[in-house]
């Protein structure tokens, strides 16, 4: 399977190791992974802030880069959801482009969803040990139905204990530029999420979207919690001691 990896702008910038972890997992599942070099950002920030023209330009750019692949996979529910559901809507006024958007949307997957349902990855490369809880990111969960997939993968690690926190499906308060525009509200929402996770005494809060993870990590550290780790599930699945 020829899989195009959409690294995502946040992973590129902040956590390259998540990108490499995704690469490792896809290769472990037997995929040939292509990383288009020209990729930048899927354009969701433009779309969510009402800049349709640039959202459309960035959508077309990404479509051109990835439409040759058999699948597009992103280690982010948010970006995958934007390609899957945002692109056809953004390009609704341009039939040719919309058709291309729909074709790409049909083969676009969030990483965990792809590994479980398409690539059927059985054996995880890592051997992470510890007690974790999983935060369901909004777009992945409500946009793409990503809920059981990452849990199924994580539970294949024999030394990993998964415990559910209250309100796992509630938003962490990130919301893209919302986190900067309404920083105080965003941080207050994140605080509730952190408390729910801390109440379980976990070693790590794990999720599938870097935006949420940076938000949660930033809040934990500000709250004085230097212990609780915040990790992408791809990092957990590939972690080796």
């Amino acid at each position: 399977m020829r899989v195009g990896l959409l690294v995502t702008c946040l992973v590129d910038l902040m956590r390259p190791r998540i990108g490499f972890a995704a690469l490792e997992l896809l290769e472990a599942a037997g995929c040939t992974v292509i990383v288009p070099e020209q990729q930048t950002c899927c354009g969701q920030p433009a779309w969510n802030n009402g800049d349709r023209a640039n959202a459309a330009r960035l959508a077309k750019k990404l479509i051109t880069e990835f439409e040759g692949c058999e699948y597009l996979v992103a280690p982010s529910g948010s970006c995958a959801d934007h390609v899957r559901h945002g692109y056809p809507r953004i390009l609704a006024d341009e039939p040719t482009w919309q058709a291309r958007a729909q074709a790409l949307a049909a083969k676009t997957h969030e990483l965990a969803d792809f590994l479980v349902r398409i690539a059927c990855l059985q054996k995880m490369p890592g051997n992470f040990a510890g007690r974790i809880t999983y935060h369901d990111s909004c777009s992945g969960l409500r946009g793409l139905g990503v809920k059981e997939q990452p849990r199924a993968l994580l539970q294949k690690l024999p030394a990993l204990e998964l415990v559910e926190m209250r309100g796992a499906e509630e938003c962490c308060g990130f919301g893209g530029t919302f986190s900067v525009k309404f920083g105080a509200v965003s941080a207050a929402i994140a605080e509730r999420k952190c408390h729910q996770a801390q109440a379980l005494g976990v070693d790590a809060i794990v999720g599938g979207d870097l935006g949420c993870l940076l938000n949660i990590e930033g809040k934990l550290r500000r709250m004085g919690d230097a212990q609780t780790k915040v990790m992408h599930f791809a990092e957990v699945l590939t972690a080796k001691d």
């Binding site: 950002c41 920030p45 009402g50 509630e170 919301g175 525009k181």
Partner: protein, 470 residues
């Protein structure tokens, strides 16, 4: 009601800095959510019921003029008078006129958000007519100097028992009580007198039934029945979109409204009121008026925002909204808070007066999945953002930053360079401490949390190095 939506940011800061409000909000959070989740379980097929409800509401909106005329004809045939109001001022004028015509000195009110839109209490007071709110929550707000509601079905959800105990002791000049039952009994005693002496009752209407010309009231306290049966005159004020074609349609919507709102299978009272009292009946009003209000709603018909008119005012969207849970309802500045308010307020008042509201959402779509009539709230919020951007209502810095970022993102080589420099800069700021506590470029972020340090090189750079080999 005068809008404070234009000063939304200040309202937020005040809400976050108010420890009593914050304590009350965190106490209230979850109650509605859990109860609704349980109530939804009772339905054999929630999604199918939701789809049926959406279909009913869309069917009405597709031919709203015809349904309104049908309603008007049937209501008239049962002895009611149907009046039309263009805006809030007209509502107030009509109500005052009706009151004067019937020599009314005192009006008892059941809960009505439309009367909040119109600022009806102030208009009645100005005309020398005493309004008395009889919904317990609304009554509490009234005796607290006409404080604005913070929720469309639980207007005092932001208040604690202690605050209400103080307020009752002060207003009623009675010993302070802290038991809910005792407080309720006290309110009931005070209100009973008003029910018996008021000449006119004013209510909202949850639904108008076109085939019978009736209004349906969904309440829990029983005050709605007192207001509509004891006084000689009943005035029901609703938005024009509240029509349902038949009683059967009403029953479909009633499977969803109480469950979505309070998590009840059915509310304590569901009243379907039709026509004036006829000679054989013992109670009911001698005069029944419907005031059907536009106040900006017709503008939404046929627009991208028409789905908003499906709204049945259950409040589920705000109950599930992380932003509402954090700032409470009053911060939104007008009658309707939460996601539905962030859509409706700019649409009814003008986007220029409330353009911050559509941005006050994480677009988590929790509201979209709980909405019983499937209003795509995040999509409507995003549409409003597009409109605000197009009309240049947003600060120029925000627009510029967004455009500059997009311009770079469209140029891969430039983007590669810019991101490499940015990452180095961020890493330098973090200086191996794992995080940045003050980030001048994004003060909004670091106000309440650290900005985690980047790894140090971009994925792009490292991937290229790896491909070249060690």
């Amino acid at each position: 009601m005068e809008s404070r939506a234009h000063r939304f940011r200040r309202n937020i800061a005040e809400a976050l800095a108010n420890p009593v409000l914050q304590a009350n909000l965190s106490k209230a959070k979850g109650k509605f959510v859990e109860k609704r989740a349980q109530a939804i379980q009772e339905l054999d097929d929630f999604e199918a019921t939701r789809e049926a409800a959406r279909e009913i509401r869309d069917r009405v909106l597709a031919n709203l003029d015809l349904w309104l005329e049908t309603f008007e004809a049937n209501a008239r045939a049962r002895g009611a008078t149907v009046l039309w109001a263009k805006d809030g001022n007209e509502v107030s004028r009509l109500v005052v006129e009706i009151a004067k015509r019937h020599g009314v000195k005192k009006v008892v009110k059941s809960k009505s958000m439309l009367s909040e839109e119109a600022g009806l209490n102030q208009a009645l007071l100005a005309a020398g007519i005493e309004p008395v709110e009889t919904d317990l929550g609304e009554y509490i707000l009234q005796i607290n100097g006409y404080e604005p509601p913070s929720h469309i079905i639980a207007p005092v959800v932001h208040k604690s028992l202690d605050e209400i105990a103080d307020l009752f002791a002060r207003t009623h000049r009675t010993p302070r009580k802290t038991e809910i039952a005792a407080l309720t009994r006290e309110a009931r005693q005070v209100l009973r007198e008003h029910f018996l002496t008021a000449e006119m009752g004013v209510t909202g209407g949850n639904f108008l039934i076109a085939e019978t010309g009736s209004v349906a009231l969904v309440t829990n306290e029983g005050n709605g029945r007192m207001v509509t049966t004891l006084p000689r005159v009943h005035v029901a004020i609703t938005g024009i979109e509240k029509i349902v074609p038949t009683l059967e349609d009403l029953s479909t919507l009633m499977r969803l409204l109480p469950r979505s709102a309070t998590g009840q299978s059915i509310s304590n009272y569901v009243s379907v009121l039709t026509g004036t009292k006829n000679p054989a009946e013992l109670d009911g009003p001698e005069h029944l008026y419907f005031i059907l209000v536009d106040n900006g709603r017709t503008r939404l018909l046929g627009s991208d925002y028409q789905p908003m008119l499906r709204c049945i005012r259950c409040g589920a969207c705000m109950n599930h909204c992380p932003v509402y849970q954090t700032i409470g309802g009053q911060a939104y500045g007008w009658v309707y808070p939460g996601p539905m308010g962030s859509v409706l307020t700019p649409l009814l008042l003008g986007l220029e007066k409330a353009h911050d509201l559509p941005y006050a959402a994480t677009l988590c779509n929790q509201c979209g999945v709980v909405c019983p009539v499937k209003i795509p709230l995040p999509e409507l919020l995003r549409n409003l953002r597009e409109e605000a951007d197009k009309r240049r209502l947003r600060p120029w810095r925000e627009r510029l930053a967004l455009r500059a970022w997009a311009w770079i993102a469209l140029r891969p080589s430039l983007y590669a360079l810019a991101s490499r420099l940015l990452v180095r800069y961020l890493a330098w700021l973090a200086e191996g401490r794992g995080g940045i506590s003050v980030l001048a470029a994004a003060p909004g972020w670091t106000m309440g949390r650290n900005f985690p340090a980047p790894e140090g090189e971009t994925f792009r750079t490292r991937y290229r190095m790896r491909k070249r080999g060690p």
